[in-house]
């Protein structure tokens, strides 16, 4: 405060600052010197690739070859002639919605349990975070082994007398997508749990006491006190997780490779296949770019929520 007053007093004695200087701000020069590395990275490693991402979709570029400009041909082919694109879109939505809903559900249970007065609560919290701490690749490969035809899940189900013939969980149409949703949920629920727990702990205790005095049951306390207080937190984690899940590559690629057929191909794996297996980089990138508006829409909803927290 004192500094402000002092500098203002000095400014009043000398001649007034030129308007341009005032518009650029007091610390303009120092600020941009400190920001040079960040801005450089944002431009070279993000803005440029984003621009070139769009440019590539207008070319017939393949690996090692110079692309030729072909206008919107890639988009036409993808939307009208591609035999799998619409299936990939559908898979992407099923995978994302299924996983996010399940993660929210299990994460909420985790948060509610950890919010109770437990012995060794810190230990349980740490242990429940483990699935999220383990690298995704490790998660995917471990579950590939668990769900294998000779894997432990089939053995356990057999030993419990629940089934006779082992089920190829990842290799048949009926169960492949379901298995992927399960694995993604296992990996991601702790993130929901821990964030929702922080939200729960921020709810003032008085609200619960008041509800108690009004004679609210356990369910009513959850419904009318907990849920409304958690609204923003739920919204932010759900949207964040939607972005990550929608763009997941490793879980799908390492568990099913998009198969059987294209039954579990999501857009990251399909982009990869088109770009690096059939080597059509321009056409593959078109899959990503065509779905980018959905993503940008989601980010537009999310960023004001996250920036609002920042401004406070």
């Amino acid at each position: 405060m004192t500094v402000e007053v002092g500098s203002r007093a000095v400014a009043a004695q000398t001649k007034p600052r030129p308007p341009l200087w005032r518009k650029l701000g007091r610390d303009f020069v120092l600020a941009y010197i400190l920001l040079i590395p960040l801005i450089l990275i944002l431009f070279v490693l993000l803005a440029y690739p984003i621009a070139s991402a769009i440019w590539i979709t207008l070319q017939d570029k393949t690996i090692g070859m110079v692309g030729r400009f072909i206008g919107l041909e890639n988009y036409r082919e993808l939307l009208l002639d591609d035999p799998f694109f619409w299936q990939v879109v559908r898979n992407g939505f099923i995978f994302t919605i299924g996983s996010v809903v399940l993660k929210l559900f299990v994460g909420m249970i985790m948060a509610l349990v950890l919010n109770q007065p437990l012995v060794w609560r810190g230990l349980w919290r740490g242990l429940l975070l483990m699935p999220w701490v383990a690298p995704t690749v490790v998660t995917a490969l471990s579950w590939r082994w668990i769900l294998d035809l000779t894997g432990v899940l089939n053995l356990m189900l057999r030993d419990l007398g629940l089934m006779r013939t082992p089920i190829p969980w990842l290799a048949q149409y009926g169960t492949a997508m379901f298995s992927l949703v399960l694995v993604n949920t296992w990996h991601g629920f702790p993130f929901f749990g821990i964030t929702l727990l922080a939200g729960l702990q921020a709810i003032p205790q008085e609200l619960y006491e008041a509800a108690d005095i009004d004679g609210a049951s356990v369910w009513q306390r959850f419904r009318y006190v907990t849920m409304p207080s958690l609204r923003t937190v739920i919204l932010v984690v759900t949207i964040l997780s939607t972005i990550w899940t929608f763009n997941d590559f490793s879980v799908v690629w390492l568990l099913t490779g998009g198969g059987p057929g294209h039954a579990t191909d999501v857009f990251a794996t399909y982009t990869y296949k088109l770009g690096f297996i059939t080597s059509r980089l321009g056409y593959g990138q078109t899959v990503s770019v065509i779905l980018a508006p959905v993503l940008i829409g989601i980010i537009m909803i999310l960023s004001p929520l996250m920036l609002r927290g920042e401004a406070e």
Binding site: S142, W186, V237
Partner: protein, 280 residues
């Protein structure tokens, strides 16, 4: 109807049962991969008493260390993760301080830009990133991977550090400036020590982000000896033969560093997770 004694006991029972269920679900896979990594060859496929640890051996670990380039992969992972995260933290500290404390035109725009780029997923950019690195002749070594990791770690670390800087009271800095400290002096002497937990958290998150990264690693590195652990692991499965024992041993080696880091600094991390994603 107040919560009675009976209801409380019932609630406690339900809570502990649910906790047990969650713990089993979360930890069983770890038990299982650990067990597989300690079993040898045919025994991996035993049909009898699969869950009981018996006749364990460290043969798989010897195999992956001596007959597979695991040490190289470990080294590559460490180098790329450490450097990309350290560089990102330095850039993040400079940029974060500037955005939070300095007054200049474009302040809000840059904060928004950081958030926006943090949210852009790698699956959208891996093809242009590959073309960029390929044309710069960086796909032959680890440099391409290092630069690619900066593209997500820099916005991420900046965003996290920004949040921590905001939580430091501005009055402390004003006091130091009255005592004759320069802007950078304040950053070095007042802000950095106070934000140390946040900076450590950002570093660890950046490190694990790079450590776990798979898509760029698959597309930007093709030579076997330049792979990082995740792609090395992946290379076991994309062949026709599944050597589950060695594969699970490598999985354990890959998972250990993040888990150890996490245990050491759990307290920082849990606050960091909630700060970075949900502010307010």
């Amino acid at each position: 109807m107040r919560t009675t004694q009976r209801q409380k006991i019932l609630l406690a029972i339900i809570t502990y049962l649910t906790l047990a269920g969650l713990l089993f679900g979360a930890l069983f896979p770890f038990y299982w991969i650990g067990l597989t990594s300690l079993r040898k060859g045919k025994q991996v496929y035993t049909k009898q008493q699969v869950l009981v640890p018996r006749d364990l051996t460290t043969e798989n670990y010897r195999f992956v260390f001596e007959e597979r380039p695991t040490v190289m992969w470990l080294r590559n992972s460490l180098v790329v993760s450490f450097i990309s995260s350290a560089v990102s933290v330095v850039i993040g500290v400079l940029a974060g301080y500037s955005i939070v404390r300095l007054k200049f035109w474009g302040n809000r725009t840059i904060a928004k830009g950081v958030l926006f780029t943090y949210l852009i997923p790698t699956s959208l950019l891996f093809i242009p990133m590959f073309i960029l690195m390929f044309s710069l002749h960086l796909t032959g070594g680890l440099w391409g991977l290092l630069f690619a990791y900066l593209s997500f770690n820099v916005p991420f670390c900046t965003w996290l550090i920004l949040g921590y800087f905001r939580s430091i009271p501005e009055e402390l800095e004003d006091a130091a400036r009255i005592d004759g400290c320069t802007r950078l002096g304040v950053l070095w002497r007042i802000v950095l020590p106070l934000a140390a937990p946040g900076i450590v958290t950002a570093f660890i998150f950046g490190f694990t982000n790079s450590w776990n990264e798979f898509l760029y690693a698959v597309t930007l590195v093709s030579r076997r000896e330049l792979m990082t652990l995740p792609t090395g692991l992946g290379s076991y499965i994309l062949g026709d033969v599944f050597l589950w024992g060695p594969l699970m041993a490598t999985a354990i080696i890959t998972a250990l560093p993040p888990i150890i880091l996490f245990i050491v600094v759990q307290r920082f991390i849990v606050t960091g997770m909630t700060l970075g994603s949900v502010k307010g």
